[in-house]
């Protein structure tokens, strides 16, 4: 009997696909359900943000950074503001620093909620996603009260933040934290402890520490592989050195493989708790005072360049800015976490199934605007 001949299929997954998290396309080559090759095709959401940055004055680029990763707009604002502050040597008042940490960590919770919820929804459980959105909605309410926006906050300013907290806002943040901290356990009972969910993830697509570093993975994806690297600890900025928190890393949760999809997921769940801890400390010690440093009306930083990186929910976001002493930057290069996560998918997905590819994309938390910029 001659061996049965079967064909390798080519099919497009995305851009219009429910679980590519935005407009991302993979050209799949599959043998049955098994993936032989997943060729990522990016650029559907390319808006030329780096070029726009060269055309607008430094402060005017702030709203564009919202669109860099709209799920974590404040982290992106902050990264831009910090880069320019380093470039121009601006000192930020302590109250503004505290507000930045509070809002950034709230935004991290909101972003991780989307991430873990979307992973659950990709695994076929839709309810956890809606529960995550319900809690995120409360964060959005807090932000709306603070700055009027619910998604693209445009909150940070070069040298400070745009608005001080309204009366009673800190109490409401505290109220949210008191509400949300037990909700993490409720969420875990709903989905994280679910046998099917764990089995779908705990051995799938492990990334070794060497591989993670080789591909330049950052943030929770890197920590999921057991590498304890967090810019808030290892290259501190803002007031993070004064705050106590831990850096959760993957350790083969639930008898899984180190660096598997489940480890990356668990790192995010644990980071939720750490963010709550950070916000509580900030609320306890926030000083009175100015929220905005004195910054010239037309900012012309001295000739020079800076690379400044911060820890956003999807890992390191870095701005490389060159100034010619003009009011617009000469060149801006943006480095984002999703981009490096995207680059590893091709290598990672070989030999796994289509259902696993969905888990890989979800657990790496790739989102299109960060990839394409």
């Amino acid at each position: 009997m001659s061996p049965l001949q079967t064909d390798i299929w080519t099919l497009n997954m995305g851009p219009q696909h429910p679980s590519t998290h935005g407009v991302i396309r993979f050209v799949l080559k599959t043998d049955g359900e098994i993936i032989a090759d997943a060729d990522p095709d990016v650029g559907f959401l390319h808006r030329g943000l780096e070029k726009i940055a060269e055309l607008v004055p430094y402060p005017s680029f702030m709203p564009y950074t919202d669109r860099l990763d709209y799920l974590a707009a404040i982290n992106m604002n902050w990264a831009w503001a910090l880069s320019i502050e380093r470039l121009a040597g601006i000192e930020v008042p302590p109250r503004a620093e505290h507000l930045r940490v509070i809002t950034a960590e709230l935004n991290r919770i909101a972003s991780h909620l989307i991430s873990v919820g979307a992973l659950a929804s990709d695994m076929g459980a839709f309810t956890p996603f809606v529960h995550a959105l319900r809690d995120r909605e409360r964060i959005n309410d807090l932000f709306e009260e603070l700055c009027g926006a619910r998604l693209t906050f445009n909150y940070c300013r070069i040298g400070g933040v745009s608005l001080d907290a309204p009366p009673g806002w800190f109490d409401r943040v505290r109220g949210f934290l008191d509400y949300y901290e037990p909700m993490i356990d409720v969420f875990n009972r709903l989905i994280t402890d679910n046998k099917i969910f764990v089995e779908r993830l705990r051995r799938v697509a492990p990334v070794s520490a060497e591989m993670a570093i080789a591909y330049g993975l950052v943030g929770p994806n890197l920590r999921g592989s057991g590498v304890k690297f967090d810019l808030r600890k290892d290259e501190p900025y803002g007031i993070y050195p004064q705050l106590e928190f831990e850096v959760p890393v993957g350790r083969g949760y639930r008898d899984g493989v180190l660096g598997s999809c489940f480890d990356r997921y668990m790192v995010r769940i644990e980071e939720l708790r750490q963010s709550i801890r950070i916000i509580r400390q900030c609320l306890d010690r926030i000083p009175e005072g100015e929220i905005q440093a004195k910054v010239p009306k037309v900012l012309r930083p001295a000739k020079g360049e800076v690379y400044c990186r911060t820890e956003a929910p999807r890992g390191e976001v870095g701005f490389y800015v060159i100034s010619n002493g003009e009011k617009t930057p000469a060149r801006v290069k943006i480095r984002t976490g999703s981009w490096s996560a995207m680059s590893i998918i091709r290598e990672l997905s070989k030999g796994w199934m289509i259902a696993d590819l969905v888990a890989i994309i979800g657990s790496l938390d790739v989102i299109a605007p960060e990839v394409d910029r």
Partner: protein
Amino acid sequence: MLLDYIPVLALMAAAAGLALAFTLMSELLGPKRRSAEKQMPFECGNPSSGNPKRRFSVKFYPLAVLFLLLDIEAVFLYPWATIYRELSQGKGWMMLFGFAEMGLFIALLALALFYAWKKGALEWD
């Protein structure tokens, strides 16, 4: 006997009739604006990369064969299961006769399943 099936057929005819009526109604009421793009097979917004009607790798082929074998067993199993209640209430050895006869058959089937398991037929590769 066969008259029992008339209601079944009537229901199925009614269901098919209803389905047909609804499709006809939708044919009459719905718009018909055909275009080449609309009739393209959906492949996430891209032009199709080839017709799917080609040799496709079905990884669970051994399982499908196993299914055929195990499902045929139902043919033998059901008549026996139907009268087992009477068999088990027989006198003396007759009580165990029904059990032993079919127990052996089921044990052989289970053994075959075990063999297939050990041979790796249950693995997805």
